[in-house]
């Protein structure tokens, strides 16, 4: 296409959230000359920009801070280290003109542009499954949000959203939504989860919902949203009707996988993000994937560690030009919902409360086994690579396999 600027050898990071910014910073620290972060929003920083409570930065910055401060700190570090930040630009696709080069197609404010990259790091993040994707029946009144849309409106735009809400879900982020609603002057009539109990830390539940006497309704789900122009109530699967003018659907993480899928990458079943190996290679030469795009969803600092660690893999690629022949999935057996590598080992989810020993095997040989304990759904479960008998080197005949010995 005419009018395209073509740039030289560089690493392009797609997505300027905690994972992408951390990758870019580390690449610069390790001496990569041109590192460009392409961020489609006007501001880099990702989701933490609008989660105005503590809980950020522990694992990467070694201090606890709020989401907006954490996001600002990462952006500042990136600029300080000479990362090129291209905000307001959207990656629309990739081309693979040769075995060692990728072209990155951009839509920018001034028109289309193409960047040539020696490596691309995908860090496009995650979203919450909205009401429609959860197939909740009823009309489509105003007043239905996800935690993400709620927090944008409240934190970035100082909006009130309603007077009485029902929060759907009872995992970490659901309690974050409770805090945001309280901040916006909206009471919470109930939290609702189909599981037998909430899935966050006891202390967090007490400090948020407990302190505000928000009942957590377990083993029920939302059966219907009532209201024509504005939400009037929700009806639960046990027939209870809860009057409310606001419903917040929380969690239900889905990776923002459009670019990854259009690039032809294989996806991890269940997680729906691109399959990676322990070094965060995808199935396409030159394309790496990190953060919550790969593991929906970990905390921001875990994503940031992914970003740091991918830098070493990118440098290996830039110098050695070697790429694994195949990216193998980790096989799982119910109640394990999915498992994937991240930078420090394997992360997985179970889809029900289950008591037992979590076991990682390879060709019948046990690689790692836990002590008996209760595994909580919607909560991150990590097996650190140092704890495994064998690390993630490609195995000849068998795939890694995860199950629970009840």
């Amino acid at each position: 296409m005419a009018g395209h600027a073509v740039s030289g050898d560089r690493v392009v990071v797609v997505g300027g959230g905690p994972a992408g910014l951390s990758a870019a910073i580390e690449l610069r620290i390790r001496g990569v000359r041109h590192v460009t972060v392409v961020e489609r929003e006007q501001q880099a920083g990702g989701v933490p920009r609008y989660t105005a409570h503590f809980g950020y930065g522990w694992r990467d910055l070694r201090r606890l801070t709020t989401g907006p401060r954490y996001a600002a700190a990462l952006v500042e570090h990136a600029l300080h280290h000479g990362v090129e930040l291209r905000t307001g630009s959207t990656v629309t696709g990739f081309g693979f003109p040769s075995a060692d080069a990728t072209t990155v197609e951009l839509a920018t404010e001034s028109g289309p542009e193409e960047l040539r990259a020696a490596a691309v790091v995908l860090a496009t993040g995650v979203r919450e499954r909205p009401r429609s994707a959860r197939l909740v029946p009823g009309d489509r009144p105003a007043g239905v949000y996800t935690t993400g849309s709620l927090q944008q409106l409240v934190v970035l735009h100082h909006q009130r959203v309603g007077t009485r809400a029902v929060v759907v879900g009872a995992e970490h982020v659901s309690f974050s939504a409770v805090l945001t609603l309280a901040h916006a002057g909206c009471s919470v009539a109930a939290m609702v989860t189909p599981l037998p109990q909430h899935q966050t830390y006891r202390a967090l539940a007490l400090a948020t919902a407990g302190r505000r006497r928000v009942p957590v309704r377990t083993e029920v789900d939302v059966a219907e949203i009532v209201g024509h122009r504005r939400v009037e109530a929700v009806v639960l699967t046990d027939g209870t009707r809860i009057d409310c003018d606001t419903v917040v659907f929380t969690g239900g993480w889905v990776p923002e996988y459009e670019l990854a899928r259009r690039a032809g990458l294989a996806m991890t079943p269940g997680a729906k993000g691109p399959m990676v190996d322990a070094a965060l290679h995808t199935g396409q030469r030159g394309l790496f994937a990190i953060g919550n795009l790969v593991h929906p969803a970990e905390t921001a600092d875990v994503c940031a560690l992914d970003g740091r660690d991918v830098a070493r893999s990118v440098l290996d690629w830039l110098t050695l030009h070697q790429w694994p022949d195949a990216i193998e999935p980790i096989e799982v057996e119910a109640p394990v919902a999915w498992a994937t590598y991240h930078s420090r080992g394997i992360t997985l989810r179970v889809d029900e409360f289950v008591h037992g020993r979590l076991r990682l095997t390879h060709g019948g040989e046990v690689q790692w086994i836990s002590t008996p304990q209760t595994w909580v759904p919607n909560r991150s479960i990590t097996i650190r690579s140092g704890e495994m008998r064998t690390t993630s080197r490609p195995f000849a005949d068998h795939r890694l396999r995860l199950d629970v010995l009840r």
Partner: protein
Amino acid sequence: MIDEPFDVVVVGGGVVGCAVARLLSRRELQIALLEAKADVGAGTSKANTAILHTGFDAVPGSAEARLVARGYELLHAYAPSAGISVEATGAVLVAWDDEQAANLPTIAAKAAANGYTAARLLDATEVRELEPHLGAGVTGGMLVPGEHLIDPWATSLAFAEEAVANGCVVLANRHVTECEVGAELTVLRTGDGEEVRTRFVVNAAGLYGDELHRRFGFDGFTVRPRRGELIVFDKLARPLLGRTILPVPTALTKGVLVAPTVFGNVMLGPTADDIDDRTATGSTRAGIDALLQKGRRILPALLDEEVTAVYAGLRAATEHSDYQLTASAAARYVCLGGIRSTGLTASMALAEEALMLLEQSGLVAPPTPDDRLVGVHRTPLGEAGERPYQRGGRIVCHCERVTGDEIAAACSGALPAHDIDGLRRRTRAVAGRCQGFHCIGEVCALAAATDGRTMAEWLGTP
């Protein structure tokens, strides 16, 4: 108070009413379009299967068959200049058992009787070659190359915008509750006690068409809403099908189809439930489950994709299978009743029909000279054509790649959006897979900054 006596008032700003208003606005007439809702195209017309039908399966000899065939030609010709996205995908009718396969030649003969001769019978292998992702059990099919996809929202909007540009007055939020037919003028009273005086009335009131018909003292049809629920799947499902996949029709409905949309999604539906409540536009557990079950059979891989939207629309079905088109010279009244989902395709032909019936009833409607007519040229929203972001601009809604300029334009002008739903129909903003997770704040702030109302008003916050 509106003291202007109009020449014609069109009651109902759905796709049919808007088409009538557009055509009448091209005559030397004072026209008004009365709509009960806040926006045009916001009732039945917004929840459509979005197909530009050839009319191959209509009842031969019916008004519907004639008007769908004519409307198809008219809308096909009108859409490109007006910026209504149309995509020529064609359709394939798929038989899933021997009985359905045996029925296909009859349907082909019916198509021929309707003047549609391009349909072609296919064996199961040919069907599978065309649509390799179809589920097991295909026994045969029929190719209907002329079936097109269309942007249903832009259709109503383009008609209404052109009508306004040519002098038509759009009176929104006015539900007609009383009619008084006088010697010269008819007085229409709306819910808030307002009066609108006019010489002629066109009833395009859709779901409420029978009520208005009775207020004029006529009888002959009763609307029994037929609810159709639809599920829209993620754009990543689009490669699963090349064209619209139609079932072999039954007496009740065309059945459940799987169709691409011009926006690049895949639609599954509709259900067909006869109900009594004319406001029951909610989806139901049973409806959603039934669609998923049918979808799993038709296109199994579809069910692996995320759902982008679920909605339900009410078709204005009556006890008659055909459209109810009547006129009364004495009452200076024309009725376009009982128009179901084919009304989108037939809209421009129904407008011609309305004008003809008005003239037969005594309306004198001299054409406005061409040099005084204003056309409408919307930015097409279809995925197959060029989108504004491809030339540059700040993308605000990322899933659908809608620019800030597009959002600002939709919140200003002659027929601006008033809420997020109206904005969605005009721009695709917030219509994508994240449903506002990433963009609702920015979209809403921009809308509020454009029209000066608050974000709370845009969001409907109490």
